[in-house]
Symmetry: C2
Subunit: 406 residues, 2 copies
Amino acid sequence: MKIIVLKFGGTSVGNLKKIAKVAKIITSYINKKYKVIVVSSAMSGVTNELLLKTKKISKNFPDEEKDVILSTGEQISCALIAGKLNELGFKSRSWLGWQLPILTKGNYSSSRIVKIKKNKLINYLKSGGIPIVAGFQGVNSDFRITTLERGGSDTSAILCAKFFNAEKCIIYTDVKGIYTTDPNLIKSAKKINKISYEEMLEMASLGAKVMQPVSIQEARLNRIEIDVRSTFSKKIGTTITRKKNIFSKNTIRGISFTKNDSKLTLIGVKDKPGVAASIFKPLYENSINVDMVIQNISAESRETDLTFTVKLEDLIKTRRLLENNKSIKFKKLVVNENVSKVSIVGVGMITTPGITYRMFKALAKEKINIEVISTSEIKISVLINKKNLKKSVEILHQEFKLNNNL
Amino acid sequence: MKIIVLKFGGTSVGNLKKIAKVAKIITSYINKKYKVIVVSSAMSGVTNELLLKTKKISKNFPDEEKDVILSTGEQISCALIAGKLNELGFKSRSWLGWQLPILTKGNYSSSRIVKIKKNKLINYLKSGGIPIVAGFQGVNSDFRITTLERGGSDTSAILCAKFFNAEKCIIYTDVKGIYTTDPNLIKSAKKINKISYEEMLEMASLGAKVMQPVSIQEARLNRIEIDVRSTFSKKIGTTITRKKNIFSKNTIRGISFTKNDSKLTLIGVKDKPGVAASIFKPLYENSINVDMVIQNISAESRETDLTFTVKLEDLIKTRRLLENNKSIKFKKLVVNENVSKVSIVGVGMITTPGITYRMFKALAKEKINIEVISTSEIKISVLINKKNLKKSVEILHQEFKLNNNL
């Protein structure tokens, strides 16, 4: 069987007219003799609306029941798509997480798929049916509904592609593909034709919100090729694939950035073993993600300054935790809310010398001060003043020739 | 175990504030040492909203998928109630149709419950949990979601009471009980303290929309006592029970009426065997419910007039079927859309002579013309001009002393 997985995001099924469009895309693959497995998100806005209800009931609304509620979003969109396909004369039905089943483990509201049982769906495909699988949901060993992390429908789709040995997984969304940077900020941003899993992972986790990082990681591990494209355009999108499939002269694939970072500096911290751990432990325990960290080297003095970034939404909590923690001794806490992180991403970086230098020089030329630096094998991130964000991305976009076709 | 079933209707769980009220009622029974099984409807309006979506997708939206969609209404309300109870410190969870399971047979969208599996829920009750069971839904042998007839949550509750041997089933709704007639039309309408299943069945199917007839029939067959009362009032409501438990001097228990009937008269129908069947067969095949029927006796002539009533919403379809049916010969079709059916209901009727006479006399005195009459053992219905509806109900309410306390 030539199987293909088509995943439709929330905006793609956002209203009944769009669902008709989705049905048309699905049948075009049927006409090409594919066996199609469809995975759908909830109609856009629905999940947030449902979530709001639970929050109004209780600040500690139980995750078990939250999952029962949130899963209805996909339940409805899948049944509507199946209904539309029936209307068009195709055999189709919805398949909910507990029906296949899609087995999950882990906590409610952030479960992970461990297995998708195949036989029912294979029989259904053989009978000529088009299964519409509810994304974002599964069932656990207690026979209760679970949901994955937010945006988990991508993961549902990738794992359907894995378990059913699909040729490909196509993510239909509201953007035309992955761009060299955010086209809303930089007009000259270009659509990338091919990007490696690794680059996409950096782009995704750094703020390019097209796909959920966990899903890309799953695709990478299982070597599933992903196409990201628009539901509302016939143009080809971006293929996310293995490094070896990419032939491009560009060292840098894209530039991502964040707008919601904040920088904290603890001045005059006692410099002794274990002090960093005692600072970060309470943050970890409160699920606060610490991103960039630098500590001044203190060869002589017994004091040091410690700087790190957290998401803006975690700032107040972080501050309170630091100030109330008696085991941390420091002289002063300085906070900067006006920072942005800009990152250049590309697998070619590791084999190309001088990238760091080119980046810093380009920024320096425009007198943009770099506050913090962090690097990985395929990316370099710098923290800058938020007011310089657009300019920084623009000059880096130019410096690494991302305006050219890729 | 002292088990009680509490069922909450759509308006009782209509918003989050009301759900808080519902939670309070539930815990009051827990405090009285009851083991409580809760059955909930969808939040008011939700089912219609979902239904509208399916209708916009397709006029022939498949019932299988419609059930997947409609069942989300109860899925959400149950989880919200369970979440609220958790917030209040009680152990509670939602139980969906497929989880117990509640096994159904029959067509999608009008399935009937054949069994409710007990062990999981019994264990849960023993562990001190408060189960919130989704009404209106079940699962069939194909492991697919089914729904009952509209209003089927009443049936879900009654059958929970049956399978779990509950002491009682309490239907919490937005009215204070069953009234002698519609209090919106007749100010002097009185709440009935006790009514028999049989009377309630007549009242329900004749237009008193408090409970779904199928659910009352199930209660009657299984001798389950039902209390109908308001979620928003502390006053006791109406008990629906066996005839032998009712001690009341009133022969007539209540008066029900319809506003959406229409009368059709076929004039000059050939009077030969099988003609009535040939008229009603196409109506039956098109799911049109024929209510009152009278045929003039034609001793000499070979022609007769045939009169019957159908719901106003079926009138156009009925008319078309009659006029397009070549096998039916008649001279003329006369339609009257301005008719109402008024019925007096009471189990005492069968042993009390003169009820029919009193009814007709009371109407005649006010010069209200009776167009069609039909009777059963416990009710007498008359068809009258709609303009006389209020007056008719008023004088019958007085004639049979329903203004007095019952």
